[in-house]
């Protein structure tokens, strides 16, 4: 026993144990549980990694109340200042309004106009500077900020439109002046209304300072709330099944398995048998060449396939169209695209099936076949009664793995036409919805994440894909593996 302990000291065992468990925990358990967790949240582009802003706002929230109470006088004085600037802006705006309504093309002076513009801009900028200043914290008063923001945007739009008319002209026609007048008259009221609202906000601050503090703190809390990741329970799963898109996507995936797996297996098997025959000259070279699809990067090969099927221009698309006198179009016809997926998937997967099968064929003892031959059985009997039973296990194994690949089909539909074409989908009793007709499950999840930026929903759909894989694995284990392998 002592000798054994020397070979396997407990300390080393413990060390190895803890290292492996550590890795297990942080590289397996943690990422998996985190992604499962995301499926139950409302994760999206806004809240998925908003820590920098949340920290900033939380710090602000901690200090703001004291700060506002302590510096009441200063802030009120700033509020008065801002109010003055906004009042001046209104005044200048009215002056400009009056000016533009009383000039014609001859008396219009661009210098005078620029002066009004400059005055309005500088008054507004001064007011905005007070609001955005760190020393006043008025920026966190959402109503005020929004109103002033609207003023700023509207005024900028006015200047832009007028710039487009004035351009780089030196003289102006009556038409130009009329257009400028129209722009100012149309926008003056709305700008003024937002300016007045801003002033009301400022007066509110002065009248009830306590209320202002409350509003600011609650506005900041609301903002934190709006960018925080929230647990939403099963909501994402309800959303998935609220319309036809996801159920249809599952249906399409299952259909794809039903069509692509037999294709892959039969093509692989056929090629394996052909190239196992000693009667073919140069079969080793040919066999090596046949493995090329396996070696090429999927991105490259699938893109090439798409080129070949570009409607009207691709080589195969033209051949297909000519043979059948039918407009073969992967971008428009649901089943054309589906056919191409099957072709490409088969092309990508046959080397795998072929290699596995060839290995199995090579391991079948020649004596069996010779014996059968002597006993007088023909080619098909030899294939059915001897070859097939002997290679069935490896082929079954390849079939199972390649079925897994079909469930997870993603690159092929993505690169061929992103799961298109788009149509109104109605599946069983689910409500109809606009969606891509060939969006298989994984592609559905990918598009929800990358197009719609709904990470929670996307993860939920992946989780369902995992469940389907799990069901598949269980079926495989109990009905296939146990029956054929445990004997």
């Amino acid at each position: 026993m002592t000798k054994r302990l020397e070979i396997y000291p407990k300390k080393v065992a413990l060390l190895l144990c803890s290292i492996s468990l550590f890795l297990y925990l942080f590289f397996l358990i943690w990422p998996i549980s985190y992604s499962v967790f995301i499926a139950f949240t409302n994760a999206n582009a806004v809240n998925i990694a908003s820590d920098p802003k949340i920290n900033e706002l939380k710090t602000k929230l901690q200090h703001i109340e004291n700060y506002l109470i302590k510096n009441k006088e200063f802030i009120i004085s700033k509020v008065n200042e801002a109010e003055n600037y906004i009042n001046s802006t209104i005044l200048e705006l009215n002056l400009l309004h009056k000016y533009i309504n009383n000039v014609n093309s001859k008396s219009f002076s661009i210098i005078k106009f620029d002066e009004y513009k400059q005055n309005i801009n500088s008054n507004l900028t001064n007011a905005i500077n007070i609001i955005t200043s760190n020393s006043t914290n008025l920026y966190y008063y959402t109503d005020l900020r929004n109103n002033l923001d609207k003023v700023f945007n509207e005024i900028q739009k006015v200047w832009r439109d007028i710039d487009n008319i004035i351009g780089f002209k030196l003289t102006y026609t009556d038409d130009d002046i009329n257009k400028i007048r129209e722009i100012i008259n149309n926008n003056q009221a709305i700008i003024q209304s937002y300016l007045t609202k801003s002033i009301e906000n400022l007066i509110d601050i002065k009248n009830s300072y306590d209320n202002f503090i409350k509003t600011v703190t609650s506005d900041i809390s609301n903002q934190i709330d709006s960018i925080s990741l929230k647990f939403v329970g099963m909501d994402n799963f309800y959303t998935l099944f609220r319309d036809s898109r996801f159920p249809f996507s599952i249906f399409k995936t299952l259909l794809f398995i039903l069509t692509s797996v037999p294709l892959k297996i039969s093509v692989g098997l056929l090629l394996a048998f052909i190239f196992s025959s000693t009667m073919i000259y140069g079969r080793k070279v040919m066999r090596a060449l046949l493995l090329i699809p396996w070696a090429l990067p999927v991105l490259l090969s699938v893109t090439t396939w798409r080129m070949l099927f570009v409607p009207g221009q691709g080589f195969y698309a033209q051949i297909f169209s000519n043979i059948s006198n039918y407009d073969f179009n992967i971008y428009l016809h649901e089943w054309d695209a589906f056919l191409v997926y099957n072709l490409v998937e088969t092309w990508l997967a046959y080397p795998f099936v072929m290699t596995v099968t060839m290995g199995a064929i090579a391991s079948v003892p020649k004596e069996y076949i010779e014996a059968a031959y002597i006993d007088g059985s023909n080619v098909f009997t030899r294939f059915r009664k001897i070859m097939l039973p002997l290679i069935s296990r490896p082929v079954l194994f390849a079939a199972i793995l390649t079925t897994g690949a079909s469930i997870q089909a993603f690159m092929v539909p993505l690169l061929i036409n992103n799961g298109g074409p788009t149509a109104l989908l109605g599946f069983l009793n689910f409500p109809t919805a606009l969606g891509n007709t060939n969006e298989v499950i994984i592609l559905y999840g990918y598009n929800r994440a990358w197009l719609d930026q709904q990470y929670g929903l996307s993860t939920a759909s992946f989780l369902i894909a995992v469940l389907i894989l799990l069901v598949f694995a269980i079926i495989w284990f109990y009905f296939v593996y146990k029956r054929s392998f445990s004997r």
């Binding site: 908003s50 700060y67 428009l332």
Partner: protein
Amino acid sequence: MGYKIKAISRTVLVGVIIVIIIVGVAAGLAFTNFLQKPTTTPTPTTTPTTTPTTSPSPSLYSVQIGSATIRVSQDFYNFILQVKNNQLKVSINFWTSMLPFEVSNVQKVVNDFMSEYPGITVKYTGTVQNMKEAIKAGVVANDVENTAHVFTWAHDWTGEMADGGYIISLSDYLPPETISDIQTQYISIAYTAGVYKLKLYGLPWAAEAIALVINKNLVSKPPQTFDEMLNIMKQFNNPSQNKFGLAYQMDPYFLYPFITAFGGYYYNEDNDTLGVNSTETEQGIKFWIQNLLPYIDTRDLSHENQLKVFTDGRAPFIITGPWDIPAIKQVGIPIEVVPIPNIGDKTPKPFSGIKLLWITKLVANDKNRLFASILFSLWFSLNDNELKMLVDKAGFIPVKKSIVDHLNQHVSDYPITSGFANSITRSIPMPKSIKMSYVWGDVSNALNAIFTEYSQKGPDAAINSIRTYLNQAQQSILQKFSGKS
């Protein structure tokens, strides 16, 4: 004996597993707590203990940055002097996600900057993949050394980047006088693009919008009205010989000019309204089906195919942006660029994107790097020579007033750039709000479905289907909006 050891080691193993799981969970909890609670408690940036007087304007210095003279604070002024005289060493990271020919030109700008301010080293990475995600990850992980300090992209990222706290606002670090001086340097549409919720976040240096590009071999005089354009398209269109009236890819961004011409829109962030299923939008799409689609190669509406139709000389027009110009120039087609012509008295207004220079949150606590980043952004967007070089060599459309003036005085020298510049002046900037990202996918779906209808059942069926599909899209987007807030 062997049994016993096995039994013991199994017990030990189970024990260790339990302990490690407990430790792991505890560590996880502690970690999340740590994330929520900032370890340092920064004081509010400026705490006026002694109440400041009415306008606390510190002494300002005028300084020449690029081709503009602006007023800056004393701190910043001293910093500029120090890096100019190489008394202070700072390095910053600058990221872009651009095409190779653009990168080589931007590299020249970076080199010129470093020779003017030898104290600052700009580490430039030109072709960053997944730039937005890379920057977000870098900021969250606080990876100061390996993440961008300054980066550039079109202004539609502003909402997402600012609301998430990944970028800093210049208004927080520069005195108001500097901001107003900067404002006067750019055309109004460009400056406004950098402002979000009243604060200035990014400095504009270029813009892009789609326009009508004309093959001068086929069309000598650019069409003034849409009717003229339509006649030319009809004249050239001959699908049986693989010739078309127009090359025009289909997606929500490209279709926008014809939607705005009729008063339609997708999302208006000023009023927070969604206009996907408005009658005006419907009219715009109807116009596209009736007056444009018949003259387009509809077998493949993708960007690559449409560009190929034009570069093969199989269409007299393409509606596209400045990014395709190098490819077109490469095949040697002489071109002219004009804004998309008016339809009667209706002006097609494309979306425009303003390229902004942003500064990431990572430099907020490092004053030298912060100043270096600000100086670099200012210099980049204010230097006439460099901007002119970018116009000439890389075809970037300028937004600085002085360069736009220069362009307008020499229109004949810049037939391409001035065409795009004119298209930008009548454009509508893309919304800055993150909500816009929920709009693209569904509108694109609706367009695809309408187009499928068009190619399978003909134009009338497509026109009849517009309303259904737009309603579907509107409903789906509203669902996403409501899920968000």
